[in-house]
Symmetry: C2
Subunit: 193 residues, 2 copies
DNA sequence: ACATAAAACTAACAAATGTTAGTTAGTTTG
DNA sequence: CAAACTAACTAACATTTGTTAGTTTTATGT
């Protein structure tokens, strides 16, 4: 099933993610999307019900992947540093498999319809809250430096969230090596001691 | 002169930057922009010549600030770590003064007209190349960890470039304290040694 | 007070947008 | 074979878009 050929709807989602990522949701018309698939705009509506829905499907799917990944990590109750390393791996893994969809999530979540947007924002808030708790626990346990947890959180998230940009630019090389280096830089810093 | 009241054109730029940052260039119509200024769309054209031009003005202005800041730092020929700290201060300073315009630069540069886009991309490439040289020199001098300079560069830039997002969310508190913490996190990492 | 410039207005345009209705050709299934 | 389904098509729709032309109001300087 997973190795099957894509359904037409999945093809549309994939192509839409690519175009939305390149130019933004609002810059891509249904005619643009259709042209990329070599059909007419109206034919898209045999498979999807609105432009809105395409965006929601793409973004909420990625949101769910992060939510599930975070849940798995939190439930494992490992060491704080290990959990941070697992979070970094989670982000790298999702980026590698869905670079375009991540771009949509980062840039086009504002254009979700109200229902989808509120679902996403809730997922994101929950995700950040779990991340924050890990950091705070690390500070209490003296495993993480005693700085403003908010600054630590967003510094880490900034790098993790924009990995899609330079991942697509550089090509994979070796994903394991990339993960190792990102872990080292984020956790140990760039300065030689 | 700098403390003078804004010209109407500057007001338009300021309001446009705010709206573009909130919803993206393509999602804001000239009627939206005009409404925010309590005038009609056509009245805008007494002050600006096109929607395109507004975006170019906003973005290239910020681009220039980064270019000039980088030039000043490179010319000073300080220690590598000092230069990195100065770069962090440069980003914080520009973000604090122009959070909306930074959002435009990050998200809407793709929608610049061809001439402006190529100017911006050149500025950005030059900026990144100078940044890369500092990192490479740091590695040679054993001041910076011996990892892929590209990964170091984009990890640092990711955090610096998205500071606008959480700066506007948190309010300034104390900019000096913020700068100090970001320097510590990026250079020393988050893990207790 | 008068002339000039600055900045607003109304009305309209051609193009582009998301979407619907109705139709047709090809494929699968009973 | 006939029925049903899939997936494409053409044509058209009401809105929204950036922008222009022409006009009127408001502010400024002599």
């Amino acid at each position: 099933m997973l190795l099957d050929k894509l359904t037409r709807k999945q093809e549309i989602h994939q192509t839409a993610a690519k175009l939305f990522n390149e130019m933004g949701f609002n810059a891509i018309s249904m005619r643009d999307l259709a042209a990329e698939l070599d059909i007419k705009a109206s034919s898209l509506y045999n498979h999807i019900s609105s432009k809105d829905e395409i965006l929601s499907d793409i973004i909420l799917n990625i949101g769910s992947q992060f939510t599930e990944g975070m849940l798995a990590i939190v439930n494992q109750e490992e060491d704080v540093i290990t959990q941070l390393e697992q979070l970094i791996s989670l982000h790298v893994g999702i980026v590698v498999d869905n670079p375009d969809a991540i771009g949509c999530l980062n840039n086009d979540w504002k254009h979700l319809n109200p229902e989808s947007k509120s679902r996403l924002v809730k997922m994101r808030n929950d995700y950040e809250e779990q991340f924050r708790r890990i950091i705070k626990r690390g500070i209490v346990e003296s495993k993480i430096v005693n700085l403003n947890p908010e600054v630590i959180l967003f510094s880490l998230l900034s790098t993790l969230r924009s990995m899609n940009i330079w991942y697509s630019k550089k090509g994979s090389d070796d994903v394991n090596e990339l993960t190792r280096q990102v872990k080292s830089i984020l956790l140990e810093g760039v300065k030689v001691k």
